[in-house]
Subunit: 236 residues, 2 copies
């Protein structure tokens, strides 16, 4: 049940995501899935397949253009550009969301956005931008922003799942995120895994030999269960 | 599928819990469920029924003796006694756990303990005492203890679910719990619901007209999903 190419635009840039139709009975809801720093890969594809098996339309966004997967040496510059320019990342992921509305015809109340690592950061930026979707979930995403949420600006309920040992998301960033969400009067949930590192949902990182990252099957199962219950409770 | 009386002892005190056999295929695992401040009631009974429907043996502990449900005016004194005497609460819930081992014949690696409000506090005390069960889950439980965990003393993996607006579990207590778990080198998970009050899993509290408590169906669904995934991943 592979995805089919899903073409859309952000201003002048042609984007090439992937679209996964529901397997079995469609539930009339859709989830945008935003990839890690490099591009659409196995983790995003298997999440899309899992969501499709639950009846969702799942759409993998393309954040770099042309469906490209960045080489390791090109990632830092791309991340810096997105991290330093909230309007760029919000516009890019917002374009995917608009395309998903158009592709499915679903109302925002039937649509969620989730993301992994960089994608987790991107969907939180969408929340800070006031996107009117029914739920937003960030898995081991960067929790801080160059443009923190203003009071009342966050409309979507948020779940963030994070690892307490993630060097990319240190405790002070987790505390700052909580404080930002409180100050913004957002509807937020935070799941902290005491022994988890970065990329704890991604079984592929164990081959990278990167000490910042580690797959954690328990944290993966718990965060996925909480996230799917959140989608089930929030999407209409 | 009501529970049957389950009699056991803590020293000289006769305790009367309830035992729920698995419905359908038994999974060879068991969960001890510890009640709120008053005693075994509808919330605990429906959790036991849900767990039995998943294949678990579920056992509702009795913390007050004789299966009694305390009147409102008797609750503060009972809570103060348990809160101020870690050995008492640990012994009382530990007696239920030993009885569950004996009743089922299961090894500790196939057994979990969960609790609600006071029961959530009680199962965390069990964790601080070094109980060798496979998982411990506290729902809107008091997170602080008169005898915080020492380094290396917590053997059971822990999930605590809490409401950020719970006046009985203020943010400083949540922060202290995190710090206690880090210092103890425990295997911990913390799920914080930004808009949840005390007793967010208990639909019965909405009739009490107590401003500290509120049922929250989304937080209930998310915390239950995370908890059951945790049990599924940890019990062997």
């Amino acid at each position: 049940m592979a995805g089919r190419p899903w073409n859309y635009r952000h201003d002048d840039l042609a984007l090439r995501g992937e679209l996964y139709e529901p397997v079995g009975t469609p539930n009339g809801r859709a989830v945008l899935v935003v990839h890690e720093a490099d591009g659409i890969g196995q983790n995003v594809r298997s999440r899309c397949e899992l969501l499709a098996s639950l009846g969702y339309v799942a759409a993998a966004a393309d954040m770099h253009g042309g469906g490209q997967v960045l080489a390791a040496e090109d990632i830092p510059a791309a991340l810096d550009r997105f991290r330093s320019d909230p309007a760029l990342v919000r516009g890019r992921v917002g374009a995917a969301l608009e395309a998903l509305f158009e592709t499915t015809g679903f109302r925002p109340s039937a649509v969620a956005a989730i993301g992994y690592c960089f994608g987790g950061f991107a969907v939180l930026e969408l929340a800070r931008d006031g996107a009117a979707v029914a739920a937003i979930v960030s898995f081991h995403g960067i929790l801080t922003s160059a443009a923190p949420a203003a009071a009342g600006s966050v409309r979507a309920p948020i779940l963030a799942a994070t690892g307490a040992l993630d060097p990319l998301v240190p405790p002070r960033d987790v505390a700052a995120f909580e404080e930002e969400m409180r100050a913004a009067d957002a509807d937020w949930h935070l799941l902290t895994h005491g022994r988890a590192y970065h990329s704890f949902t991604n079984i592929g990182v164990d081959g990278l030999d990167d000490p910042r990252m580690r797959y954690d099957p328990v944290a993966d199962a718990m965060s996925w269960a909480a996230a799917t219950a959140f989608l089930e409770a929030r999407l209409r």
